[in-house]
């Protein structure tokens, strides 16, 4: 076997023959996460695509213990599990919330914020397919500007809620963004977080073929383009120390980023956009990068 298996375990924790759509970005990300964490992982899954992908009773597609829980409750249920596990003396357990953007950014935000503020020793991963995909592609607080969804049929008029940045105000030891086109980045970040005590937050871009309207073979290509256009920024913040990771490290200059239209044109949910919309979206991306620049500057100053 090649060297790849020295870093990436061969074992699968998501069993094939599951209910995921072909080309599902979320399942791909969870596959990497579980390889990084290993079998002593308890997943807490609220209502979301994955709670259906898990498969119907009496069968489940996951090789780790799972607590299914109500939509708004995942971070709170996980808080209970973490404290219980430590109190009753179970050692070496990863407690992981695996929630969609709806269950994180909207209905689950209160419980997430509370759990982060209490700094429980757990991992929270939001796989963001940018809408309520499980119930049929309705918009969520994480739907980007201009995107078609069934409840924004002429394009979303609001700007995407930037949840990792909200988490930065919570004083937690680790925050990172993830992207399925960069599995080594995912693996090393999750492995690093495993060793940190406290609340760890991950926000992963999860391309969705039926929801974003593209051929299922393009999931990884679209995810990669999200990073190369600067639409999705790979970063991590470790104990307040903020840094870009992966290809995002080299994209501070606008000319190095591909024009946003390279990302938008691959997806049917942006097909209806006119030039004005595309300009607006380009500006939103560029403005976000200005914020990142300021963040990196103040990070440097604080270090001095």
């Amino acid at each position: 076997m090649s060297g790849i298996f020295k870093t990436f375990p061969y074992q699968e924790y998501i069993l094939k023959g599951n209910a995921a759509c072909p080309g599902c970005g979320a399942t791909l990300i969870l596959r990497y996460v579980l390889k990084a964490l290993g079998h002593r992982t308890i997943l807490v899954i609220p209502a979301c695509c994955t709670s259906v992908i898990a498969g119907p009773y009496p069968k489940t597609a996951f090789g780790v213990p799972v607590l299914h829980i109500a939509f708004a409750a995942s971070a709170a249920a996980a808080s209970g599990i973490v404290e219980a596990v430590e109190q009753i003396g179970m050692r070496d357990v990863n407690v992981v919330v695996w929630a969609g953007d709806g269950g994180t950014v909207d209905i689950g935000l209160q419980a997430l914020s509370g759990a982060a503020e209490r700094n429980h020793n757990m991992v929270y991963i939001c796989y963001d397919n940018e809408a309520y995909m499980n119930t049929g592609i309705q918009r969520s607080g994480a739907t980007p500007y201009g995107a078609w969804t069934t409840t924004t049929p002429t394009g979303n008029k609001n700007v995407k809620k930037d949840l990792p940045m909200i988490m930065r105000a919570h004083n937690i030891p680790y925050i990172a963004t993830l992207n399925p086109a960069f599995p080594n980045d995912i693996y090393s970040k999750v492995k690093k977080a495993k060793e940190i005590r406290g609340f760890k937050y991950f926000h992963a871009l999860s391309p969705c073929p039926p929801g974003w309207r593209y051929d299922s073979s393009l999931t990884v290509e679209i995810a990669r383009m999200a990073v190369l256009t600067g639409m999705w920024i790979l970063y991590e913040q470790e104990y307040g120390d903020f840094r870009l990771t992966g290809p995002s490290r080299n994209l501070l200059e606008k000319r190095k980023r591909k024009p946003i239209v390279e990302y938008l044109k691959l997806q049917g949910r942006f097909r209806h956009l006119n030039d004005e919309d595309i300009d607006r979206i380009q500006r939103l991306v560029d403005d976000k990068w200005e914020e990142i620049k300021e963040l990196l500057e103040s990070n440097k100053i604080n270090k001095k």
């Binding site: 076997m1 090649s2 790849i4 298996f5 990436f8 061969y10 699968e12 998501i14 069993l15 094939k16 023959g17 599951n18 209910a19 995921a20 072909p22 080309g23 599902c24 970005g25 399942t27 791909l28 596959r31 898990a54 498969g55 119907p56 009773y57 009496p58 069968k59 489940t60 597609a61 996951f62 090789g63 399925p180 599995p183 073929p209 051929d215 299922s216 073979s217 393009l218 999931t219 990884v220 290509e221």
Partner: protein, 88 residues
């Protein structure tokens, strides 16, 4: 004392391959590997969301019982060794 006095029938599910059946029947196109071109980089294995690409004797082998035909493996192969072929 302190034991469960009643037999509890709780909604407990156990890990099963093929939890919704042989998902290979979902396909309309299937990936075919050209072993002359394949360089054993295993990127297809890496990016398969289903985990249904096995490595047997160092060679990639697609599990056609479960492959849903998404086409990601073909898309990411750096040497274009995987072709998506229409199912009969």
């Amino acid at each position: 004392m302190g034991e469960i006095m009643v037999r509890v029938y709780a909604p407990i599910a156990r890990p099963t391959i093929g939890s919704v059946g042989k998902t290979g029947i979902w396909r309309s196109v299937k990936p075919v590997v050209n072993y002359d071109k394949c360089i054993n980089c295993y990127l297809c294995w890496m990016y398969c969301p289903e985990g249904c690409i096995n490595i047997i004797d160092d060679m990639v082998r697609i599990d056609y019982d479960y492959c849903k035909g998404c086409g990601i493996c073909s898309n990411v192969c750096p040497v274009k060794a995987i072709e998506m072929v229409r199912e009969e």
